[in-house]
Every structure is written in structure tokens, then in C-alpha cells.
Symmetry: C4
Subunit: 252 residues, 4 copies
């Protein structure tokens, strides 16, 4: 078995310039929530699946009893005459550094075939406390991107993110420009990191829709944010009642 | 050395449709007990052995002093004019996810050569307590299999198995239909998981014999179940005597 | 870099039948002590070295300041008109199961080139207590060897060694007959396993010299055994004096 | 993706004999401090970058927000009509033994292309206490180097370094002479190992400049050493004041 296998669903001939958005599982699941929402709301089409021995050796069983092999999936949508959009998501990143390099490289080969000229990888930036309005932090590989990112609300605070970007989000950006001459940036939504975070996803989606140039209703995601806010507020006030503010540090 | 080496014993030209049953070591050793019993009772023939650097680097030494390299083995039996049966078992699953993928893939290449059109992987579903009559849970990759599985007593309770199917049992099923267009299902016998469990094996064997269409005397396996039941009952009553029911939770 | 690299020192055209003896590091370092003694006393010649990325990534620095890359080495001696002897030893076994398989396989390819028709791998059998006269336990892959092993003092006590043979000693034996049709046996000298054990090495050497048909003075090895016996006796009597026999279990 | 990828910046045709100096991260970061200082002061040119899936799967983000893929880099300077100098440094050594072997091998292939005839790998020799004037310990692979090393102040104290040389510093030296017939030595600067150590780097640089034959102002490095000495002296006297010498063992 080759370590990576591609299963193609449809043939795509994208028109105009192509953008690739990557949202794999990670901190606060921010990237994945964002792209799952886009795939759903934009009614994107499945283009291909990637299977790999770099993923965990297991299948997921759904409510019907159907077994699903771990995979990453590429979706597509022609968003205007001159613009096509690809979205990449999946169950897992590779098990090992070697696997993550190989999978990122394979995705970039596919991106090149699809005439992708810019890639955004989406992730969370864990800060360990609840965040009222999450900032979107950025990283890029070619300085010419920076002004446009700032204009669309992406922040570059000095010293953040301190430890670099770990995993596929970093690798795809790092390899894209260096070896494929594809522009790339990573957008990181500030998040506590304690739970899947729709608020960071919402802020990323606002920024991304302006950067890429697509429109999507934000209503359902805003609803999820509101529900989460009510829940966390209730938890906090319960804790205040119960502990007279003693142990609140954890959530603030 | 290639990572996998095949040692062929006999040439097999299966007649009619072929079924492959896989029982590798796992939870409660349910799969392996089932297929070892089938191999013995059906007097199946050894077709080939698989050796691999994905298995632990050791040999097993038998009572005579003979050293045996770790291996997986394929057995064969023509069970009727129109039906042939293959059974796959072994000492170990692969050491790593990569190894498990590669070994599962190799088995599926062999299955295709042998004209296998359906595969059952057998395993245990660990529930952490003694089970009176083990249920057989199922997972499949093509929905057309489901009704036949239900008709033969396989259950699909919602939310079980929660965490998916780990290891070869899951991979073989997941890869079979996706890449080889071979139908596949996993049958999981409910088991405490505390010891090798003939009761779960017995229930799987009853279901499997109906699904595949072979006949095998269940007497010896029923005997082992009876012996085990007597033993666990004795242990329980000893514990009751000794501890006045204090610590019984573990076995119930 | 290939994962294994061979460095040939001399060309060898062995006459008559060839025997290969393997003594890599392991329990009580029994195998390595035995073959190091043979190489020294028989004045064996270095034939080739094996370097590999499966060995730890480090060099050993000797007293002069010279750095030595980790390696395995093959030695040779024509012990009679009709018999040649090869001895294999080294600093390490492979880091991983995959590495151990690959290195064992490579050695067997070399053995085949050298017309080796029988292999003995030497190791320790750890019993966790001091042993007066170590037994030599055996394992083989072809039953035709057993009688000759017994005749030369090798024991096959039922149920020993219980857990099989781990690492190269097992793999070389397991692979030799199965894939190269070279006869092979493993000789395990009983040892406490607490320290490098010349007594087990001495017993193995006595047995081995009869099996292979070479003569070697045992004097120096007997001397080392005597020194060790005196040391352990002194330690035991010191302990008895000091502890009035309270804690002796560990050494007996 | 190949596991190693080379990105060439300029074509270099070195004149005369070439020396390669390697300073990768390690104990006290001694090697890296030394070569970073050389690259800066000698205004060396970037020749090529090595990217590899054997490095951690992450990018480093600089103060501007630019993402940098982990890499090793080769620098070059023609230091006289008859002498050219190469310096190799980087963010990481390989993640695994296999990766370290492969990366060291690749560097040696590059060194051969560049007509390198001697290699010095630089590292720290951790002694776990502050050192007034660090010794430079050496290891070589060909005895003909030893006298010249001693003449230039390199020490070969018996029994040091006890455990050999772990990682790339050892491998490059070990592989260089054995497989490429390139002379090689490792220079290890004595260091506490508690922090990045410019004093060990300074001593190495003094020795190295004589061995290789280049001139470099030591002023800035001496300044750093002075600052560090003042800092550690202050820390020690603070501790003496505070603890009346009770806990001083750690720093002496």
C-alpha cells in the first residue's frame, strides 16, 4: 500500500483564480468548525478524499452502523465567474512529523493541479482563558500578503504566537511558498482552548469571507455563539454563587 | 528484506463465491477463539503464511524446543460446490498504524486473488462486566448488508460501539469496500474483556455459520462456556461468602 | 543513505562447510563474551563490518580519542581443511523491530554467500538468581537438529524458555530455515542476568566447540569464572555477616 | 515528498582546500553560538538550505509575522586564495536516529561535492558545574589528526568524554572518514550545560581559528562572556548572602 491514497469523486476544472482554505482538527477545533460551516452553507461539492497509513488505524462507526475509514476531504465551489474556492478538512492530522510533512506535501501537489494561487490555513490560538471578542492572529510566508491581511482585520501583535505554529497549519504555509510558489497565510482565532469554540470560528469566517470574497449567512454560527455565551455565563454565575468568587481564576 | 513476505503452502482455486473470515488477537481474544475453533472443526487447510517486520522481533518456542517466527496464516476449505471459505488468523496485529495498514492491504490483495466477495472480521466488544448472553454488534461499509445482518441476529444499538473499531478489524472492513469493492462487515461479540471469552465466540459462531452457510458442531465450545460459567459462578459465590457482597461490583 | 551499509575488509573463499556463530549484546552479555573470547583465542580475521541507521546515532570514543561508529562485525577462520568458521558480533542490536528484522535478513544474505550451512545464535537465559553450573538451553527450527544438540549437552526442559526468544537471537534462527533453508539453533546459557556472566559463556563455549568442532583453550575464561565466584562468595558472606541472613533472597 | 529537500541559493566553486565546520543545537548550545558568530563576523554567504520531514512538523514565526520552516543551512566564505570555509548550522537535529543518519549522510555528500577535505563538528561537553576556563576536548577518526589537534590546545584526557558523542556531531565524524575518506574531528567545549554558554564557544573559536586558519575579532564574544560572568558572580554572591552558603553546591 502506498502511504497515501487519493479517491477522486468528480473532475473539477476551476475557472479564474483558486483559493484553498484548510481547516483540520486542532486547538478549540476552530479551523474545523469554520470550514464545516462553509461546506454546509456554501453547499460545496466533494472533490476527493485522502486516505493514509499516517492516520490512526481505526474506523469510526456512525449511528447507522456504517464504518468510515479515517480520511481528509477536499471540497469545491465556483463562487464567481473568476473565482473558485477549495476547502480541505478531515478527521485527523498525520500521526507523526514524517506523516504530517508527507500529507501536507501531497495537498500542495493537488493545490498546484487545481491552480490554487493562495492558501489560508485556519486554526486556534489558545490563550487559556475566556475571550470576549477573539482576535485573529496571522502568519504569512511572503511579506507582500501582510498589508492585505491587516486591512482585513488580522493582527500581528509582537511576540504572538510565541512558540510558532505546530502541525499541518504551519507546514502547509511553510512548504507552500518555499517549494510551490503558492502564497499562503495562517489565520489563528483566539480561543480559550477548553472546548470547541464557535466564537473564534465566527471571527475567522468574517475575516476570511472578506479576504477570499465569498458571502455566507452567519446566522446559525452566531446562534451557536450566543448559546455558548449563555452557557458559560451561567456556569460562571453558578460558580460565583457557590464559591463566593474563590475559584474563578480558571474561567477568567 | 521486504516488510511483508508471503510463504505459500498450496495452490488454491476456490469454486463459487468465497468468504473470508478474519480472527486476529484482540479484546477477550474473541475473534481468535472463534476462528481457531472453525479451523479445527472444519479441518481447514493452510494456504499461506504472512511474515513481516511489522510483527514483534521475537520467536515463540514450543514444548519441543522448536522456534516459530511470528506470523499470520490463511486457511481454506471448500464448504460446498458453490461456496469456499477462507479464514485468517495469527499471533499478532502489526506493531504500528503504518504496519496495520500495510498488512490489511496485503490481505485484501490476497482476498481479491482468491475471488473473495465478502469479508467478516471478528472481534470482542468489551463492556467491563460479565455478560449472560452476549449480543453480537455489527458494523458494515455498504448499507445493502445491514438487513441481512439484522435478520441473522446482529444488533445495531444506537451509540455502540462508541469509539469506533480500532486495529485490523476496523481497517480491513474500511479498506475492503473503499478500495477493493469487496463487501465487509465487522461482528463484535459482547465480552467482559477480563479473560479469553468462549461465550462471545460461541454467539459469533452461531451468527456467522448462518451468514456464511457452513455447519459446525458447537459441542466443544459449549462445553468450554459451561466450564467457564461454573468457574465464574464459583468465584462469585466465594467472594460473596468471603466479603458479604462488599466488593462484588467488579464482576457484575 | 541506505539503511544498511557493508564495509568489506577481505575476500573470503571458505573451504568445506561453514558455520556461523552469532553473539550480540543481550542478557548477561553471554553471547558477546563467548564470541569475543573465540575471536581472540582463535585469532579470527575481520571480514566485514555492517553500519546501519538502525543503530543508535552516536559514536564511541576510545582511550586515544578515536571515534568509532556503531557497527556489527563478521570474523572468519578456516578451522580445518573441511570446516570454516564465521563469528558475528557487535555493539548493538537494531533500535526497532523493523531494524532488527532488516539486519537479521542482511546477515542471512551474507551467510548464504559464505556457504554457511548451520548457524548458532548465543544468548543468556535470565533466571534471576546465581547459578552454580549453568545449563545450556536450546531452540531449533528443524527437528533433525535436536538429537545432536541433546547429545552435546543442550537441554530442552519443558516450559523453558517460557516467553520465547526476543531480538536478533530469535529472528536469525526463525528466518534462517524458513527463508534461506539454513539450519539454525539458539543456545542460551543460564545466568542470573545481574552482571556480565563468564560462567554461562564458559558452558556455552564447551558445548559449542563440540557442536562445531573447534578447539580453544578455556584457561583464561575459567580464570575469569573463578575470580567472579570468589567475588560473589565474598559478597554473600559479607551480607550474611552484616545482615544475619535477613535479606539474602536476592542473591540466592 | 522526499525526506530531504535541498534549496540551493548560489553556485559555489571553492578554490584550494575546503574546510567544513558544523554547529548544530546541542549541550549549552556551544556549537551553534560559535558558528553563528563566525557567520556574522566573517560575513559568510548562504549557499543552500536543507528541509526535511526528519525535523519537527512546525514553523517558527518571527516578529514580523513571517513563518519559517525548520531547516539547516550551509554558509560559505573564501578565506584566502588557497582556502575556502563552509559552515553548517540549523534549527534542529533530526527527530530520530534514522533521520540523524540520513541528514548526516546528505551533508557529507554535499561536502564531497564542495571538495571539503576536513570537517570539524562543534559541541558542548556538559560537566554540570561552572567552568572558569573551559577545556576543549577532542575526538577524531584518523590518528594522523591527533598531534595537530594537541598542538593547537585540544585535550584528550583519559576517560573523557565517557559516553561517546551522541547525535549529529558524532555521526558526521564517524561517517566522514569511514565512507567519504574526509578527515574529521569533533571539538567539545567544556560547559556547565545549564545555559547557552559563550565562554565555551569563545575557547572553541580560538582553537578553531588556529586549526582552520581564519582570523576573526573576538571582542563581541568576549563581551558576552564578561556579561555572563558578572551575572553568574552576582547570582552566586546573592545566594551566599541569602543562604549563608547553604545551598551553593548547585552552582559550584
Amino acid at each position: 500500500m502506498e502511504t497515501i491514497k487519493i479517491k477522486k469523486m468528480i473532475d473539477v476544472i476551476p475557472e479564474g483564480t483558486s483559493t484553498l482554505v484548510c481547516g483540520l482538527p486542532g486547538i478549540g477545533n476552530v479551523g474545523r468548525i469554520t470550514v464545516d460551516y462553509m461546506i454546509d452553507k456554501l453547499k460545496m461539492e466533494k472533490v476527493l478524499e485522502i486516505y493514509s497509513s499516517h492516520f490512526p488505524a481505526q474506523v469510526f462507526v456512525d449511528r447507522e452502523g456504517k464504518a468510515h475509514l479515517n480520511r481528509n476531504t477536499l471540497f469545491y465551489k465556483q463562487i464567481s465567474k473568476s473565482k473558485s474556492l477549495f476547502v480541505f478538512t478531515g478527521d485527523f492530522q498525520g500521526n507523526t512529523p514524517e506523516g504530517q510533512y508527507e500529507l501536507s506535501w501531497k495537498l500542495l501537489e493537488i493545490a498546484r493541479e487545481m491552480n490554487v494561487n493562495i492558501i489560508y490555513t485556519l486554526g486556534g490560538y489558545g490563550v487559556g482563558k475566556l475571550v470576549e471578542t477573539p482576535r485573529i492572529l496571522g502568519a504569512f510566508t511572503d511579506s507582500s500578503l501582510k498589508q492585505n491581511l491587516i486591512k482585513n482585520g488580522v493582527k500581528f501583535p509582537e511576540g504572538e504566537p510565541g512558540g510558532g505554529i505546530v502541525g499541518s497549519n504551519g507546514l502547509i504555509v511553510g512548504l507552500a511558498y518555499k517549494f510551490f510558489r503558492i502564497q499562503a497565510a495562517c489565520l489563528m482565532g483566539e480561543t480559550s482552548g477548553y472546548f470547541p469554540d464557535p466564537k473564534a470560528a465566527l471571527e475567522i469566517l468574517k475575516t476570511l469571507s472578506k479576504l477570499v470574497g465569498f458571502r455566507v449567512s452567519l446566522m446559525d454560527l452566531e446562534e451557536r455563539c450566543k448559546n455558548l455565551s449563555e452557557l458559560t455565563e451561567k456556569m460562571q454565575s453558578d460558580m460565583i454563587d457557590k464559591e463566593k468568587k474563590d475559584d474563578l481564576g480558571y474561567f477568567q
